[in-house]
């Protein structure tokens, strides 16, 4: 059949690809990322349209463009013009760095405009990517930011100043499931019975709290633990006190977990909390 019947330049069928792009369309890659050292590469194949009837049939070309995303979990983007023709396939993959699934999320769109107002035409794919897991077409299914198992992260928090409490905040662009926290409190020689509690709040209002049903005296060190769905116990022979919090409790950006110690002395000192979370990106 004569391709001109379709009103588009040869080769009209273009290997069966349904993604015909005009010269105004381009690929816009957006990446959200939390890990340093990551490079994302967008690659694929493109068949240009023949522009003049007297030119030879165009050949399939390969495109390749890299993006080093910010580590602030905010969007980093690149735009790539393709010209007129057919997008045959594409993939976005981590080509440097070692993010876990849950650390780096890519969105590929067909868009018009490189600066100012950018018109998103259609979404071609989205999902978490690693050095071994890519998104692409054909083949990939769409995955939302909050889908999947999340990245398991072990985090060392802030060692508070003397007499100050632990307070850890879910960072901008993240959603956490808090799995476990451990921190030690060393009390000063000032005689008082300290009572330590863990709290979780939305940045202002406490909605969960659970305290060790035991006091801590002067010049002692106790370890305080919270863990998802864990048996609670008070001070044991290792000076550990464990409390549990509800399973699957998700915390969004700005939510905090904190300690509250009654009768705390200005010389009491918490260690940095070590905590385990599942993390998803959320934007």
């Amino acid at each position: 059949m004569d391709p001109s019947w379709y009103g588009v330049p040869s080769p009209a069928l273009a290997g069966g690809s349904p993604i015909y792009v005009t010269g105004e369309d381009g690929l816009r890659l957006t990446v959200f990322n939390s890990v340093a050292g990551v490079t994302v590469t967008l690659s694929g194949r493109f068949l240009p349209a023949r522009q003049r009837s007297d030119e030879a049939d165009p050949r399939v070309g390969v495109f390749n463009q890299t993006l080093v995303p910010a580590t602030t979990r905010t969007a980093s983007t690149i735009f790539m013009s393709l010209g007129e023709g057919w997008l045959l396939d594409w993939s976005a993959q981590v080509t440097a760095g070692a993010p876990l699934k849950g650390n780096t999320y890519a969105i590929l769109e067909l868009a018009r405009g490189t600066t100012g107002t950018i018109a998103r035409v259609s979404r071609l794919g989205e999902g978490y990517i690693t050095s071994n897991v890519s998104i692409g077409w054909p083949g990939s299914t769409f995955q939302g930011m909050l889908d999947g198992e999340g990245a398991i992260r072990s985090i060392t928090g802030t060692t508070p100043g003397a007499g100050a409490q632990i307070s850890e905040t879910v960072p901008t662009g993240a959603r956490w499931e808090l799995l476990a926290v451990l921190a030690s409190l060393t009390t000063s020689a000032v005689v008082a019975n300290r009572i330590a509690e863990w709290t979780i709040d939305d940045g202002a209002n406490i909605f969960w709290r659970n305290g060790a049903n035991v006091t801590q005296t002067a010049s002692t060190t106790n370890k305080y633990i919270i863990s998802e769905g864990f048996n609670q116990f008070n001070i044991d022979t290792s000076n550990d006190a464990a409390r549990c919090h509800p399973i699957f409790m998700r915390l969004t950006a700005g939510f905090r977990f904190r300690t509250l110690v009654a009768a705390m002395d200005a010389g009491d000192q918490w260690t940095a909390p070590q905590y385990l979370v599942k993390e998803w990106l959320e934007a």
């Binding site: 340093a36 992260r153 007499g163 409490q165 307070s167 019975n193 406490i206």
Partner: protein
Amino acid sequence: MRSCNTCKGTYPDVQADGTSYFHQCPPLSVAELHAAITAGTLVLTAAQQAQLAAAQTADLKTPPAAGTLSQVDTFLQTLSVTRKNARDENVVVVGKDTAGNPIVHAKADPTGFTEV
């Protein structure tokens, strides 16, 4: 490691897994609240002052047993008071550059940090 010039907390700005850590100063502890109220540097609202006075009266009437919370401490624990010059390194998007990428700043950084 960094040391916060406001709260004196110390923290790693990059975690072992390569992710950035965003420090936010903790609210005042009960001990710090006691000190700030005594020094007059923390002004409670009228309602909070009334609650504190009621708690003090209750503690005078029925002193807390050893190992139990005083009514004053119970009340102060309900407060979440941001410390003066509190820092929050979490980012906020303040605009977009010509390529459409967000321009981000720390939410609050009045005093900065010291490398330690």
